[in-house]
């Protein structure tokens, strides 16, 4: 009798969580893992979108072709890494700087936080359209300012060399509000006693910022670096809106293919051209890199300071 009660207790302890989680697991299987598996499976085929039963299994051929014989993928691949590197290198230090400045403000902190965070609340498509006009070569405000300052006007989005960087700049401008806010919250949470102790030891403001505050913000830096890398890897909206070329069937990512990134390639191949096999192969490569970066960052950038 006692044994039966014990068994029943064990069953409740171990089975109950699974029962409660069952609907969620079902949803995850249906809407995450099954599509993911199907996507990887289709990337191993020459996929006939109109009739998948007529698709041919080709193993890793789609992947090999992407790396060896697809100039658009090569461009998208390198551009994605440039995008990730530049955006991360911009928004993390800038967010930290803005947060430090905000923390030093005696008055009007709320207004400045709101001002810095506001772009992060706006729709990327709206920001993209707005900046497309600002970057307009002939009528754009930015070139107007350059001309007023007697500087050479720039082609910006019309230049294969500048288009990608213009988009990164706009994306970073919109994103830096978020990093600022999180760093600011992190700075406010640092116990004053550490700063006081550093002062007693003779540390100045800059020294205590880099030797006390920055290390203590390790968790926030780690989180925001991972988050920025993942978001930048998947970037789509700004590029889609700002590099749209032409009126008929052309795709975004121009001029030419100069500002293609992997997510844009997934969209163009899969959604516009029906090349599901290639699109899913690119998506799988993206997934691999995002996972890889997440693992590396968790291992390497684990904060050494905790409080």
């Amino acid at each position: 009798m006692a044994g039966t009660k014990k068994d029943s207790g064990l069953k409740q302890r171990y089975v109950f969580p699974f029962v409660v989680l069952a609907p969620l697991i079902v949803l995850y299987i249906l809407f995450v893992y099954y599509p993911l598996g199907y996507s990887i499976w289709s990337s191993l085929h020459l996929w006939v979108i109109e009739n998948p039963l007529k698709s041919t299994f080709v193993g890793l051929r789609n992947y090999i072709e992407l790396f060896t014989a697809n100039p658009r993928f090569s461009k998208a691949f390198s551009n994605t890494f440039i995008y990730v590197a530049v955006k991360t290198a911009l928004v993390i230090p800038m967010g930290l700087l803005f947060a430090a400045l905000l923390a030093h403000l005696r008055r009007g902190q709320r207004f400045y936080i709101f001002a810095v965070f506001l772009p992060a609340l706006c729709t990327p498509a709206a920001i993209g359209v707005l900046f497309s006009y600002l970057f307009q070569t002939r009528f754009g405000l930015i070139n107007h300012i350059l001309k007023t300052l007697l500087l050479q006007p720039q082609p910006f989005l019309n230049s294969p060399k500048q288009a990608l960087y213009c988009v990164i700049a706009v994306d970073s401008w919109a994103f830096v509000g978020l990093t600022t806010l999180i760093f600011y919250a992190g700075l406010l949470n640092i116990p004053e006693v550490f700063i006081e102790a550093a002062k007693v030891d003779g540390a100045g403001k800059i020294r205590s910022f880099f030797s006390i505050k920055v290390p203590l913000l390790g968790h926030s830096i780690l989180f925001l670096s991972i988050y920025t890398i993942i978001i930048a890897f998947q970037t789509f909206d700004f590029l889609f809106v700002m590099t749209s070329t032409g009126s008929t069937g052309g795709s975004s990512g121009g001029p030419g293919i100069s500002s293609y990134v992997m997510s844009l390639l997934v969209y163009n191949e899969g959604m516009l051209r029906g090349q599901v096999d290639r699109a899913t192969a690119v998506a799988t490569i993206m997934l691999f890199f995002v996972l890889l970066f997440t693992i590396i960052q968790f291992k390497v950038l684990r904060p050494k300071w905790e409080y």
């Binding site: 029943s8 207790g9 409740q12 089975v15 109950f16 029962v19 409660v20 069952a22 609907p23 079902v26 949803l27 020459l46 996929w47 006939v48 979108i49 109109e50 009739n51 998948p52 007529k54 041919t56 014989a69 100039p71 658009r72 307009q136 070569t137 002939r138 082609p155 019309n158 230049s159 294969p160 070329t245 032409g246 009126s247 008929t248 069937g249 052309g250 795709s251 121009g254 001029p255 030419g256 293919i257 100069s258 163009n268 899969g270 959604m271 516009l272 051209r273 029906g274 090349q275």
Partner: protein
């Protein structure tokens, strides 16, 4: 307490699963009853959200509905050419979607080969009637296994000529012409209308920045007597003197003649923003611009022969067609057949054009004989029709992945040329390689696709 919680949890989970199953079932296909002949039939038709097409279809539907009150045709315009195509692909593979849809002819084979669509023959017209009554390119691009798979709506060859801003023409003191006599004539007009500001071009006199412009490049090759496709080897051959001359001209528009600049927007945008006086663009732009830029005044001028050796040629490789999906049957199919029969009739085609849209009709008698294109609202097409009768009309296809070739290979490479990122020779080599690879891949996916045999002497009307 734990037991109670456990049982409660199970009940909640079961209820959630049942609820979820209901949602799935409710979202499923409702095949239920199919309307009998005596019942009213509702048909959905997708067309691109392009004003000339939407306006034309609305006129046709209005007229058709008066004689067929029990057949209701609901027009559902879809945004974007490429986005619409992808939506059709998904709906066809899911077995859902509209009863009929318009598409570029370049995509028809892609759906006809796996059997996703129904042929229009013999119900709407027989193959013999199609060959007799329709312009040849409309059959060439959608004929498979002895059947024709689509009927067309009015639409002109994409590389007929140029749209010109008439006010800029007057400003430059130039008379309006129906066609340019030769390339020098065209360049003279372009130079006279270009504007410079601070040593830079501020208004283009001859814009070549439209993703569809590679079609002009193809025809420049052909009217020199060249070929870009080998009918025997079934491969692209772009490293030829003719192709080099054609692409060099495109390069020269920007860097020698200084008639266009990549600092200016694409042709369509530039025309709308008064930054371009004349540009290589599809002729329907003139009607379209009349709707969206009512303050601007555009007209159409037929392009000159590129080489001067032969008359200018133009190609109608991406006609806009109406296609029926495979799952339509019973009363719905009967209703659809009635509607499409009306659409492809002379009356239906002229109704489509009633608002002044000047797309050439796929119906021979309408385009070649009707006064609409001689003395009526579309009289600017008269020189084009005369040229068509003399063998200027070409058909470059069918190619299964024509959109990929045009928009993902040719236009980006030409774009690199006009941005001075690649030499003309390298561009041609790259284009040839990429086009052949894309074609080989498509043929591997669709092994039953027909061979591509291009008639270099032009289509016989």
């Amino acid at each position: 307490m734990k037991r109670l919680l456990f049982k409660g949890g199970i009940v909640v989970c079961v209820l959630l699963l049942i609820g979820f199953a209901f949602v799935l079932i409710a979202g499923g296909k409702k095949d239920g009853e199919k309307p009998g002949k005596e019942k009213a039939v509702e048909l959905t038709l997708w067309c691109m959200a392009f004003d000339p097409h939407v306006d034309g279809f609305n006129l046709v539907i209005d007229k058709f509905s008066k004689d067929h009150p029990n057949i209701k045709v609901i027009l559902e315009p879809q945004p974007g050419q490429a986005e619409m195509t992808s939506k059709i692909r998904s709906s066809l593979s899911a077995g859902k979607g509209p009863h009929a849809f318009t598409t570029t002819g370049t995509t028809i084979m892609e759906w006809a080969i796996p059997g996703n669509i129904l042929p229009v023959t013999p119900d709407i017209m027989s193959v013999a009637e199609a060959k007799r009554d329709l312009l040849p390119e409309n059959i060439l691009q959608c004929q498979l296994d002895g059947q024709v798979w689509a009927i067309g709506i009015p639409d002109s060859p994409g590389d007929l000529g140029l749209a010109v801003n008439v006010d800029h023409l007057k400003e430059a003191g130039l008379p309006m012409v129906g066609k340019f006599d030769d390339m020098d004539h065209m360049l003279k007009y372009a130079k006279a209308m270009s504007l410079m500001e601070g040593g830079k071009l501020s208004r283009s006199g001859l814009s070549f920045q439209e993703p569809n412009d590679p079609m002009f490049f193809y025809s420049f090759i052909v009217d020199q007597g060249g070929q870009f496709w080998d009918n025997d080897t079934q491969k692209f051959t772009l490293q030829t003197p003719e192709a080099k001359k054609a692409l060099q001209f495109v390069h020269d528009i920007f860097f020698k003649y200084n008639l266009d600049s990549t600092e200016l927007p694409d042709t369509m945008t530039a025309m709308g923003q008064n930054l371009c006086s004349m540009g290589f663009i599809w002729s329907e732009f003139v009607y379209f611009a009349g709707l969206i830029y009512p303050d601007l005044n555009f007209e159409f001028i037929m392009k000159p022969s590129f080489s001067g050796k032969k008359p200018a040629v133009f190609n109608h490789t991406d006609t806009w067609n109406v296609v029926i999906p495979a799952y339509v049957s019973g009363a719905e199919k009967d209703g659809l057949v009635e509607f499409l029969k009306f659409l492809i009739s002379e009356e239906g085609q002229l109704t489509f054009l009633e608002d002044g849209y000047i797309g050439l009709s796929p119906v021979k008698s309408v385009t070649l004989e009707n006064d609409f294109f001689r003395t009526g609202p579309a009289k600017s097409m008269a020189p084009v029709i005369e040229a068509m009768k003399k063998g200027s009309l070409m058909y470059y296809g069918p190619f299964i992945s024509a959109d990929i070739m045009l928009y993902d290979i040719m236009w980006p490479i030409i774009n690199d040329v006009i941005h001075d990122q690649i030499s003309v020779n390298d561009a041609l080599a790259k284009m040839e390689k990429d086009l052949n690879e894309a074609n080989a891949r498509s043929l591997e996916k669709y092994p039953d696709s027909p061979k591509t045999i291009i008639d270099w002497d032009g289509l016989d009307l």
